[in-house]
């Protein structure tokens, strides 16, 4: 069945994308982590009561600005944002895969999932 073969090829591409995404983000988190270890002496008391991480580290533009300035925390956060974006990329790629095969049911399903993920990333 050509349908199943196409499914399998799409799955393999998606698996590769996930792997690249997760290792790229782990490398960025690792780099930020090394810098963080070099710059911080003590940290734990901060985490026992919840204040929320400081504002620039909560949004993508703020994280990008910090990472460009090589701030350790912003670099770690950039790696985590790349990690969060990886499943989104997977869904977008499967959306294109279904569009190319004119599979409208699954194009719709992928579109809904993409919309929910983007809304979660952008909205509060």
């Amino acid at each position: 069945m050509p349908d199943k073969a196409a499914d399998h090829r799409l799955e393999q591409t998606l698996g590769r994308v996930l792997q690249i995404g997760v290792f790229t983000s782990a490398a960025v988190v690792g780099l930020g982590g090394v810098l963080l270890l070099a710059s911080r002496a003590y940290v734990t008391p901060l985490l026992t009561s919840f204040t929320g991480v400081r504002a620039p580290l909560r949004s993508v533009p703020g994280i990008l600005r910090g990472a460009a300035a090589f701030q350790p925390e912003a670099l770690v956060q950039l790696g985590l944002v790349l990690l969060i974006a990886t499943p989104l990329l997977r869904v977008v790629l499967s959306l294109f895969g279904f569009i190319r095969r004119r599979d409208w049911i699954y194009t719709t399903a992928s579109l809904i999932v993409t919309g929910v993920l983007v809304a979660g990333l952008i909205g509060r």
């Binding site: 199943k4 499914d7 799955e11 393999q12 998606l14 698996g15 590769r16 792997q19 997760v22 290792f23 983000s25 782990a26 988190v29 930020g32 982590g33 963080l36 270890l37 911080r40 002496a41 003590y42 940290v43 734990t44 985490l47 026992t48 009561s49 919840f50 204040t51 929320g52 991480v53 400081r54 504002a55 580290l57 909560r58 949004s59 350790p72 770690v76 956060q77 985590l80 944002v81 990690l83 969060i84 974006a85 990886t86 499943p87 989104l88 997977r90 869904v91 049911i105 699954y106 399903a109 992928s110 809904i112 999932v113 929910v116 993920l117 809304a119 979660g120 990333l121 909205g123 509060r124």
Partner: protein, 278 residues
């Protein structure tokens, strides 16, 4: 505590959690959140943020290996992700409204149930006798390799499976765990999808589900880089090790020991939650 020491202990704990979590199918979050809150006194909201990113790392890191073997059902995955992502956004919204102590009690109840469920014998049903009409229309029925040959299987119970998946998404968004046990339950027991296809497709979906709520948690400041860094790297390393070892190991004893640990942690989370200690 000095930060490097804190990182070292957390990284070791996270490697162990990722290793055991992937070998038993319970995931790393069921250990990470109690470790952070009960042992280190970390606020449960930071713990949930750190756990959530490690869930995405685990799911994405392991997916490539599974996909190569041809077990995942991409249609089932995308179809059910509609339920899990919508519910995960709802769960993340709910998390902002509930007090940390209530979240801790719910967390304890969920991991208790998951641990009990993981002890049940796995019987491979290998598909329903006949598909239901909805699974034919949605072309959910698939095939998977058994002893080198492609074996077709039918999918049934599409509507109840979809609804239970929404429950899994809600739990994932509320508690920052993958809730893989509930996902496998919905696919394996209700939709009658073969066990291997259920577990791998569930793993594939966990990252997407966690992604839906992670953006919201990031915006609320739950994701603290100093904490998430050692946890994410540790759980990722542990789960990759676990996935490699899983093919060779018989994990019955391990499964029982791990379930016992999780049940103890569940009891402590519920007790501390009821005492309002979060």
């Amino acid at each position: 505590m000095p930060y490097p020491l804190f990182c070292l202990i957390l990284a070791c704990g996270s490697i162990l959690a990722g290793l055991l979590g992937s070998m038993t199918g319970l995931g790393g979050g069921v250990i990470i959140i109690p470790l952070l809150t009960l042992v280190f006194g970390v606020d449960i909201r930071y713990a949930i943020g750190a756990s959530l990113v490690s869930v995405i790392a685990t799911s994405s890191g392991a997916a490539a290996a599974y996909v190569r073997e041809g077990f995942t059902n991409i249609r089932v995955g995308i179809f059910l992700e509609v339920a899990t992502t919508l519910a995960a956004v709802g769960g993340a919204a709910l998390a902002g409204l509930l007090s940390p102590s209530i979240i801790a009690v719910v967390f304890g109840a969920v991991i208790f149930f998951s641990a009990i469920q993981s002890l049940q014998a796995q019987h491979d049903i290998s598909g329903a006798d006949r598909p239901d009409s909805l699974s034919v229309r949605l072309r959910l029925n698939g095939e998977y390799p058994v002893a080198g040959k492609m074996q077709p299987y039918n999918v049934t119970g599409v509507v109840p499976g979809f609804l239970l998946m929404a429950g899994a998404g809600l739990i994932s968004g509320l508690l920052g765990i993958g809730s893989g046990v509930v996902k496998v339950l919905a696919m394996d027991r209700i939709m009658r999808i073969p066990f291997k296809v259920s577990t791998t497709t569930s793993n594939f979906m966990i990252g997407v589900t966690a992604c839906a709520s992670a953006g919201i948690y990031l915006g609320r400041g739950y994701i603290e880089p100093a904490l998430a860094m050692p946890v994410m790297l540790g759980v990722l390393a542990g789960s990759l090790l676990g996935a490699r070892y899983l093919a060779r190991a018989r994990t019955v004893v391990l499964r029982r020991v791990f379930a016992a640990v999780v049940i103890l942690l569940a009891a402590e989370m519920i007790f501390n939650g009821l005492m309002g200690r979060f």
